[in-house]
């Protein structure tokens, strides 16, 4: 058998399928929401993505969700991506999110790790910061700003030198996007953390929900 007949040597070029902004699924199923998150290992991003998926499951309009941590580099301090999907039926996609509706930036210094050309211009970018990052100024993007690091530190949500901003940022996500209610977010946080550890985490989400500022960059 010549190698031409061999299954391994017949790949189609990437340009035939990795189309930017295909958003195919969204045209077909308007409801599916895709989210990309960037954080530093140790700040709780992977757990946060899971809890966000839990909260979406409680939403009547969704009911189904998915949280995909991108493993491999989950060392403390390293950049860690995670992806979340919400839908109103079981999700059959298993790929990372290529074209996100919303983006969560848990650490502002990692903002360039996300290619914002692939993030919907109608979506919200939720950033752990007090001001609009330079590259967004004048872009017209919807930005949700929250000083998550301060809120979490005020509440003592620090572990091994890392500030746990995950729950705080989810509060900001609920406020910024309004696609997940604070009530369902709190329910998911309580379910995950249990009686003993939930209160501080719930408080972090609630405070962020109140303090998040929506701005058009």
């Amino acid at each position: 058998m010549s190698l031409e007949g061999f299954s391994y040597f017949k790949e189609i070029p990437k340009k035939l399928y990795l189309m930017k902004k295909t958003n195919h699924n969204k045209d077909k199923v308007e409801l599916m929401i895709e989210i990309i998150q960037i954080s530093r290992g140790g700040s709780g991003g992977v757990t946060g993505a899971k809890i966000l998926a839990d909260a979406a499951m409680y939403e009547d309009k969704f009911g189904y969700s998915q949280a995909i941590p991108k493993y491999g580099s989950e060392r403390r301090g390293a950049a860690v991506e995670a992806y979340v999907r919400f839908d109103n039926k079981p999700i059959r996609l298993h790929s990372p999110v290529y074209n996100a509706d919303h983006a969560l930036v848990l650490d502002e210094s990692l903002i360039d790790r996300i290619d914002f050309n692939t993030v919907s211009r109608d979506g919200v970018v939720i950033i752990n910061s007090t001001q609009i990052p330079e590259q967004f100024k004048g872009s017209g993007r919807k930005i949700a700003l929250v000083d998550a690091t301060r809120i979490s530190q005020d509440l003592g949500l620090v572990l091994s030198g890392f500030t746990l901003v995950n729950m705080t940022m989810l509060g900001a996500f609920a406020k910024g996007t309004e696609i997940v209610s604070l009530g369902n977010l709190v329910k998911a946080i309580e379910e995950f953390w249990g009686e003993k550890r939930a209160p501080k985490n719930v408080e972090a989400a609630k405070r962020a929900y109140e303090e998040t500022k929506m701005v058009i960059a």
Binding site: Y8, L16, L18, H24, S65, Q66, P69, Y71, L93, H94
Partner: protein, 380 residues
């Protein structure tokens, strides 16, 4: 009767651990390896908290893990372990021993590629390397099916007429570490389905000592191998029956248990695949249908025993197959393609078969890639 569920979000590994918890194995012996680790982590926690009354044997390697499970299975109790990749390879001797020894062990394999190059991501090279080991192999497509397959697996493996180890395979990370919804029945209903392991396929009896693995001549040897082959045939029917019975009890089935068809019964092109690629393929089929193309899907759920009859029947009405493999037999081709071509040929079905190998070493296979490949194959 269809039982009540609670919809919960959990990772595929959590789903595997829940299924094991509810089936109440008496012995678990395991060694951690990424991406399997969180299954046995959870189970050791359940044992520690007293939720699961099992002997949890901490071993120094995968080889010993399966050896301990074999001892437990010989003593006639329900036995569970799990592994991945290099760990499965390290077990190799005992994987074949427990398969040819007809020991009803349930062992999920969380699929991860084989080194070198060193990688922790998914492909099917690890479990496919053990397709000749005398184990039942089921390739799952999502978190729900992981739970469901493990519950079914104990019933299938522990049936005296089958008496065979059962390997449910789940893609590393894309199932094992991805959170998604699982309709979780309660512990009681789950255990009612699995039932007590009352009539062991083998049981050590100190009053009546046996030799396990003694020397045999060619005649007995070949009889044992033919018995295994016949049991594999019976396992097909058992898997179909279990799938149906599971459906009556839990309200969910996976095709006929051996294969699952998505889309129209007849189409210009059939995409054949396994695991999560097969789940993603359903979105590709929908996309192509919107574009006016006639494409359906045949998911091979059970790879061992190989569902020859089901594939042949389907192929008689479908003229062109695109088989996607996530593993390679070097020097030949993708294993699924090789086997599909073989069964079509010996049944004189002239469905043409195109093959593609995708997703090795954790390479993502988005539905857009499956769809674009299908379009190209359709034009050829």
């Amino acid at each position: 009767m269809v039982v009540q569920f609670e919809k919960k979000s959990m990772t595929g590994n959590d789903a595997a651990a829940y299924a094991a918890l509810y089936a109440k194995p008496k012995v678990i012996a395991a060694y951690p390896i990424t991406p399997q680790t969180t299954i046995i982590e959870k189970l050791s926690q359940y044992v520690d908290e007293g939720k699961l009354d099992a002997e949890f044997i901490i071993v120094e390697s995968e080889h010993s893990a399966l050896a301990a499970c074999m001892g437990a299975a010989w003593s006639g109790v329900r036995t569970f372990t799990a592994t991945s990749s290099q760990g499965l390879l390290y077990m190799a001797e005992n994987v074949f021993w427990s398969g040819y020894g007809r020991l009803p062990i349930v062992m999920p394999v969380v699929n991860r590629c084989l080194a070198p190059g060193w990688s922790i991501y998914q492909d099917l090279q690890d479990s496919m390397a053990f397709r000749d080991a005398g184990w039942i192999q089921v390739y799952t497509k999502n978190n729900q099916e992981v739970f469901d397959s493990i519950l079914q697996g104990f019933r299938i493996a522990e049936d005296k007429r089958i008496a065979m180890p059962y390997m449910p395979c789940l893609d590393g990370f894309v199932i094992s570490h991805t959170t998604a919804q699982v309709n979780l029945p309660n512990a009681e209903d789950s255990f009612n389905f699995v039932g007590e392991y009352k009539d062991p396929v083998i049981e050590v009896d100190t009053e009546n000592p046996w030799i396990f693995g003694g020397l045999v001549g060619p005649e007995k040897f070949n009889k044992d191998r033919k018995d295994l082959m016949e049991a594999m045939e019976r396992a097909k029917k058992k898997i179909v029956d279990m799938n149906r019975e599971f459906g009556e009890y839990f309200g969910r089935t996976y095709g006929n248990g051996l294969v699952e068809v998505y889309g129209d019964d007849v189409a210009d092109l059939t995409i054949v695949s396994m695991g999560t690629i097969a789940d993603e393929t359903q979105d590709a089929v929908d996309l192509l249908k919107e574009e006016g193309l006639s494409v359906n899907e045949l998911r091979i759920r059970t790879f061992r025993p190989f569902p020859e009859k089901d594939i042949v029947e389907f192929a008689k009405q479908n003229n062109k197959f695109l088989v996607i493999d996530r593993s390679v037999s070097f020097g030949h081709d993708g294993q699924l393609r090789i086997e599909i071509e073989a069964v079509l040929k010996r049944n004189n079905v002239d469905t043409s078969v195109e093959g593609r190998i995708m997703g090795l070493g954790g390479e993502d296979v988005p539905y857009t890639k499956i769809a674009a490949t299908a379009k190209k194959v359709l034009k050829e």
